[in-house]
Amino acid sequence: MKKDERLNASVKVANSLGYVLFWYGIFAVLLYRWFILDLTLIETIDIFLVWIVASLVQFMALASKGIPITYPIDTTRKEQKYFTFLLPIVAGALSVIILWVFREVTEVRRLLGGFFLTGFATLTLLIIYRIIVHYWEQKNT
């Protein structure tokens, strides 16, 4: 029974449904605590770590299966390169908006720090993703 392909496929679908609910649920809880209850990242670090580890595992699992970085949007290699460099800028800008609007940070140095830290972290993750997908393609195609 363990190798029944239909059961395995159905269990995977059920698990992924559970994962999606878990992921968005925890994310909603984090947003509520940060922006409604005004808690800091450190005060919610336990939930945040669970959420970020789950996200990173999923991220790496997708990369190790050779899923294109822009999936489900069909893009060329050139467009994927633009995406890799554009997304960190968007993420950095988002971090500045959050700091400025919700945390009332006006100090330019802190805003720039937020921008570069978020942008650099996003860029690093995307580059790691592209490297994994590159090696997957070399091995499997």
Binding site: M1, K3, D4, E5, R6, L7
Partner: protein, 61 residues
């Protein structure tokens, strides 16, 4: 086709559950090629005999 095999016996031979065999018979589940080949071997029939669609839309070549 009647080979005197129960769904349970066939399921046992190919290593799946009886429910999966039932769903394949009712055309509610499409097996992978690997399982289709196992079924073909267990039943002594070709894939064409087992899985070819019999509707007018898909006329046999």
């Amino acid at each position: 086709m009647d080979l005197g095999l129960t769904q349970e016996e066939l399921a046992e031979q190919v290593g799946v559950t009886r429910q999966t065999i039932g769903l394949i018979e009712k055309e509610k589940y499409n097996p992978t090629i690997s399982l289709a080949l196992s079924l073909s071997e267990a039943l002594g029939k070709s894939l064409d005999d087992l899985f070819w669609m019999e509707t007018s839309k898909h006329e046999k070549r």
